[in-house]
């Protein structure tokens, strides 16, 4: 019988032309696949590089401000104020009494003519105030301070502005200097683009993220642990699993509507606050944490559970002494991915009123606040051209925030990862 089947089959010719063709075809397929892979990577790297270059290129200018020197003869204009007046708790009040704003404006008019004030940012005098508060000794001397110009001049100097501003810039060409815009990091939203800052929105994002994390992480992790380790496998838990998966795919604006209906209208929580923002984003983040948490818990080898049970660990001890620590790197990675998504979220926060004009940074979870992406959205809508580079600069801050969060995720994962 064996010999019969053998005779029927032609012996394989491994060296034949047909075989050679097969081999050549296989090599060609591999080369094609490799080429496609490389193209895909180059393409996506290109897009990323383009994005970064454009953002950094535009945004970089948002961190600088154009300044003009103003000479202020402090002893003369303040009629001999002493530095000690500008120390301690009354310092700011004394500056007001002294009429610093008028002093600065008159100094400007002396040097730049009657229309000189039009060159400077309306809040320019606050830089002088900050300088005096930082080092009161300055009032003993005649000092030259560099004050930010207004946004038209700033745009005209850095880029192409309107013809009138361009003319003024031309006239003063070599007087300008560029300084780092510290105000951008320490101020909040303002109507004048020269005075806006990211601090308020940054703080709002931070507080919102903390609320989100405090709520979504414990609830998400406990839900994941319960579903994986305790819950019986039946129709109900299947339904819960499907619901959670669907929840993770719900468009974010719908969570915003939910937050509006539940937290604001039903529970009457304060509008525009980080509390409601955090709660809304927590609803959105929780399913992501539950799903990644369940996967992480599932990937803990059953042999570890058996080992612990086998020496008399209770189910609770098995979960909290063994399963959770081993699943933690995976849970953390999932959590940070979820948080990063929440950090970049705009739509649901617009629904709950976090789009207000926030000139003072929030100091608690119920204060009106805004967050970085909403701030970016608001600035991108402004007419004043000075906001363009501020928008890009805010995007850079947001991207840095994200980058730091991701770096943290990688660090935590490596720190807690167990090598088998």
């Amino acid at each position: 019988m064996n010999s019969l089947t053998e005779t029927k089959r032609r012996p394989t010719d491994w060296q034949g032309a047909e075989m050679q063709k097969r081999i050549a075809g296989r090599y060609a397929a591999e080369r094609r696949f490799k080429a496609m892979g490389i193209t895909a990577i180059v393409l996506s790297a290109g897009f990323l590089a383009f994005l970064l270059i454009v953002m950094v290129g535009n945004g970089f200018r948002g961190f600088t401000q154009t300044e003009l020197p103003v000479e202020i003869d402090f002893p003369a204009v303040t009629s001999g104020a002493s530095p000690s007046q500008f120390e301690g708790p009354n310092a700011e009040a004394n500056l007001q009494v002294m009429g610093l704003r008028e002093i600065v404006e008159s100094s400007i008019e002396i040097q730049y003519g009657r229309e000189g004030s039009d060159l400077f940012s309306p809040g320019a005098w606050t830089s002088v105030s900050a300088k005096i508060l930082a080092s009161p000794d300055i009032v003993r001397q005649k000092a030259t301070v560099y004050l930010p110009v207004n946004s038209e001049i700033d745009v005209a100097y850095k880029d192409a502005g309107n013809p009138e501003a361009e003319q003024k810039v031309q006239a003063l060409r070599d007087k300008f200097s560029t300084g780092f815009n510290w105000n951008f990091l320490s101020n909040s939203d303002a109507t004048d683009p020269m005075q806006v800052g990211i601090w308020g929105a940054f703080k709002g994002s931070l507080i919102t993220m903390i609320v989100t994390l405090l709520l979504a992480f414990p609830v998400g992790v406990l839900a994941a642990l319960y579903l994986e380790e305790y819950a019986p496998k039946n129709r109900l838990t299947d339904l819960i699993e499907v619901s959670i998966n669907n929840l993770a795919a719900v468009p974010s604006i719908i969570f915003g509507l939910l937050g509006l209906a539940v937290f604001l209208n039903f529970f009457g929580m304060p509008r525009s606050g980080a509390l409601v923002g955090g709660l809304t984003l927590a609803l959105m983040t929780m399913p992501v944490i539950v799903i990644s948490g369940r996967n992480a818990v599932k990937s803990v080898p059953p042999s570890i559970r058996e080992a612990a049970l086998g020496i008399g660990a209770s189910p609770l001890q098995v979960v909290f002494h063994h399963v959770l620590p081993l699943a933690l790197p995976g849970i953390l990675t999932g959590t940070i991915i979820g948080m990063a998504r929440a950090l970049g979220e705009t739509a649901p926060l617009l629904m709950i009123g976090m789009r207000a004009f926030i000139a003072t940074p929030p100091s608690g979870i119920t204060d009106p606040a805004t967050v970085l992406p909403v701030q970016i959205f608001l600035w991108s809508d402004e007419v004043d051209r000075g906001f363009v580079e501020k928008t890009s600069a805010a995007i850079i801050v947001l991207l840095l925030f994200l980058l730091i969060m991701n770096a943290l995720a990688i660090y935590l994962r490596n720190r807690f990862e167990t090598r088998w």
């Binding site: 042999s303 559970r305 058996e306 080992a307 612990a308 049970l309 086998g310 020496i311 209770s314 002494h321």
Partner: protein
């Protein structure tokens, strides 16, 4: 064939450590163990042999209620530890598993230090009065498992960094550390090389008498080497139970003879 041979109840003097009577185990509708009765003694090592899938592991896992973790598993009949029914509602499963320790087929140390692997059990059961006491438990457990000499200088190294054979002895030491009465071993050498296997067998010899030991093995030479009593399972039933020398030299059942002479399996 006498009835006592088939049921595996001890006829000699001395109360058995664990007794099983008319145990049936079902996985869903499928019966995996059919009416097994057996006694396990303190002074002898008991080996469970039989072809793959005959229910050795299933039965072993009934003896410390590890089968509770499988939702579809159902156990009927009676298993007693020192006269207490382990399936009664009064029995605390967690404590039972400390008293009836288990060593698994694949070494499964915790991904923690060697020290913490051993110390974990005593810690959760509150067996040590202090740090020194715990150190003492760790050392004596490792001594008993014949591992102390090899690891005493690196107790803080990860337990998973040891060789397979060392890991398995670490698992035995971990079971010993909670001061069990019975140790169940499910094919503890099947993942090990011959030298590591020899070490484990030697260890079983040393532990005999201190604990009631039950070992599942598919290796008949191993059963002959380490055990005093052997139980032969086939298709979920206990075919024959007796002195190991009798089972291997003079089996009463046809099936046993066929199996140990390698006619099937």
């Amino acid at each position: 064939m006498t009835d006592s041979a088939k049921t595996g109840m001890t006829t000699e003097s001395g109360t058995p450590k664990m007794t099983a009577r008319n145990v049936d185990v079902f996985y869903g509708d499928k019966q995996a163990i059919n009416n097994v009765s057996i006694d396990v003694n303190m002074d002898s090592v008991t080996a469970f042999i039989g072809p793959s899938g005959c229910g050795k592991s299933t039965f072993l896992r009934c003896m410390n209620r590890m089968n509770d973790t499988i939702p579809i598993a159902r156990v009927t009949g009676e298993i007693k530890l020192e006269g207490e029914d382990i399936y009664s509602s009064k029995m605390d499963v967690v404590q039972l598993r400390a008293r009836v320790g288990m060593v698994f087929q694949k070494p499964n140390p915790f991904p923690k230090s060697i020290y913490d692997n051993i110390a974990y059990g005593p810690r959760i059961h509150g067996l040590a009065t202090g740090k020194e006491d715990l150190d003492e438990i760790v050392e004596s457990s490792l001594q008993r498992a014949g591992l102390w000499g090899e690891v005493k200088d690196r107790l803080q190294d990860s337990g998973t960094a040891l060789s397979g054979g060392q890991q398995q002895r670490l698992c035995i030491a971990r079971a010993i550390a909670v001061d069990p009465e019975v140790i169940l071993m499910d094919e503890p050498c099947s993942a090990l090389d011959p030298i590591a296997t020899a070490k484990i067998e030697e260890l079983i010899h040393e532990l005999r008498g201190k604990y009631a030991i039950v070992i599942v093995t598919h290796n008949m030479q191993q059963a002959a080497r380490v055990s005093q009593k052997t139980a032969f399972f086939h298709l979920g039933t206990l075919v024959e139970y007796g002195e190991t020398t009798d089972i291997f030299t003079n089996p009463r059942e046809e099936k046993t003879r066929d199996y140990i002479t390698g006619r099937y399996g």
